[in-house]
């Protein structure tokens, strides 16, 4: 049905791919991000670059969210959506640089283990109503680990917790997902908030999108191929449960 946890290998990412993606998204999305956000992405790229010389685990995280400019109905293709929305994204990735050779040689790749979560929120209001902004939606794109119940690459939505409930740590449902890196998640968020403008900006900045598109495309293709293999090899259990319980057994399966 699926590989056992004994054969689990945490996924690996190339530093350069993750950095290229974030750099490119930040450049192409410049006019869609809040004006006071200019420093956030360069700072977090610096932090990731710095981790290349780090021994052991490193928490790559963004405490101050990347915030979009306000989408005024642009979440509908005709810019006539009923909401004015602002997106926020932050993340926390526990990574381990894969250093090879001499101690001072920067790592070219890292593995992810433990808490790998990118969180997105929408704040805003219905345009027709003169209300104050509220949090309207929140979700996360996450990568599981050896003991997580699956599906391994998944997204989760935040619960609306009634006042009578004290423990809010319920982590279902987990929807299958093939977006992983912060750059990809920002791509997703911008694509939702700016249905026309975001693809148009990507077309206008085609030179900046090339590298990012190549690495993202490769990862997505490999994950979808892998998922198809798991589904086709399922026996004695539904393909969904096979996919849900699958964990990577080749840490390099998404490396170009």
């Amino acid at each position: 049905m699926s590989n056992s946890s004994n054969s689990y290998q945490p996924p690996r990412f190339k530093y350069q791919d993750v950095i290229d993606e974030l750099e490119a998204v930040a450049k192409v999305a410049d006019s869609l991000l809040a004006p006071n956000n200019a420093h956030i992405i360069p700072q977090t790229i610096d932090a990731l670059e710095g981790s290349r010389l780090h021994d052991g685990f490193y928490n790559w995280q963004l405490n101050q969210p990347i915030t979009t400019r306000r989408s005024e109905g642009e979440h509908h293709p005709g810019s006539n959506g009923p909401y004015d929305l602002e997106g926020r994204l932050c993340y926390s990735w526990r990574i381990k640089p894969e250093k090879q050779g001499r101690k001072k040689t920067p790592a070219q790749s890292f593995v992810v283990e433990g808490n790998i979560s990118t969180r997105m929120e929408l704040f805003g209001k219905q345009r027709a109503h003169d209300a104050v902004d509220e949090r309207l939606a929140a979700w996360r794109f996450e990568i599981g680990d050896n003991v997580s119940p699956g599906v391994f690459f998944h997204s989760q939505v935040s619960w609306h917790i009634p006042a009578s409930v004290h423990n809010s740590d319920c982590d279902i449902p987990r929807f299958p997902c093939f977006l992983m890196t912060p750059g990809e998640c920002l791509d997703f968020l911008l694509g939702e908030l700016f249905q026309i403008e975001w693809p148009k900006l990507q077309q206008a900045h085609s030179t900046d999108v090339k590298r990012w598109s190549a690495s993202q495309g490769y990862r997505m293709s490999r994950l979808l191929e892998q998922s198809r293999k798991v589904i086709e090899a399922s026996a004695g259990v539904s393909p969904w449960i096979a996919l849900k319980t699958w964990k990577p057994d080749d840490s390099g399966f998404m490396l170009r």
């Binding site: 693809p199 148009k200 077309q203 206008a204 190549a214 170009r256």
Partner: protein, 398 residues
Amino acid sequence: MSKRFAPFVLVDDNVDQTLPPLVHALGADAVIGIDYPADFDSGSSSNTLGKIRRASVLLVDHNLMDTKRDHGPLEPLTGSGLLAALPGIAAGHNDSDPATQPFRLRADVIYSGKLDQLASVDLRPGVHSMAAPVLGREHVVARMNNVDWVLSKSRKDRPPPQEDLAVLSELAAAVATALRNRKIGTESPETALRKLMKLSLRGWGGRAVEQIEDMHPPLQAIASGDALAAIRWLLHIALPFPGCLHELRDVALALRLDPAWLRSNDKALLSLSGHIAAAAYSGALSAFQGKRWWKAGIDALIWEKTEGRFYDQPVLRSLAKSLTGDSDAKTIDLATPVLVVDEDFRRTDVVAELDKCVQVQPDDWPPSVEFPWIEIDRVQRSPRLLSLVVPKDSARVE
């Protein structure tokens, strides 16, 4: 031509031999020869400076050293040296009034049989030179030497005479256009540049303006009235490098068409040209070394024709076949195609898969332009190219 533009003026130490081919190409009335250094001697210098002042294009030989005579210690011995010294020479003859004419009012061209000397190319066998030859990189060598253009006298390097003529005529026309615009220095530099490039703000024009700004035009110089700074930016940056304007090969790539196939297929080219006419660049220097199109205009056309599916390769290929009127049009079947440069960083019609290429950063590549792509296997065979790979790609060529 002589009626439309101020004359072309040639300064050469061997003017009797150099002048006839130019006269043949440009017309006897259009070209004035100046013998160097004889015509700069004190007795005739005012007349000489007067001729230079009237020039729309000043062609100056590179090597001005005459081995048969002694040169004064301050006498310029190269074309770029003479061009740099001209304001001083003029001032020494009370021939210039900096208060009223702070900027040059002509295009400066180095016209030489030894252009490779300008690019510091050492062609001796076994010499490991980082430089690249001039042919096809005139814009780079011109920028390095602080002139508007460089043109070869050498028969082997030279394009056919009519192409020489076209280059010089376009330069003269651009100078005339820039100088006619009396509002430069009074209106916003962005507006002045947009008018020079004949760009309307309607439709995709706003996006084109952003793409112009990405190429860092000399807005401060234009704002202070230097009309020819914009012409030089067009010659050195905006026209030869990919960015706000597409060459034919960029249009082909955007449509997933094989650029070499398109270039050699007149019927397809004619059909396509009709469909993309609204995006054609018609501003200053629009016919300089080939036609160009606004990237924003081509993007908008593709967006409209594909209903926003500009990234969908089958849809694009179908559009390419429709626009060329050729159902057998040769299309590109690569996931992420890039145009590559040759080993001397000249743009080519060769398309390769991005994953099989790296970017290199030649010293003379403008930082505002995407660094050029080149195939990994070619880089791995060349120590010179290996040393120029961008840091982010260095692990991919080890």
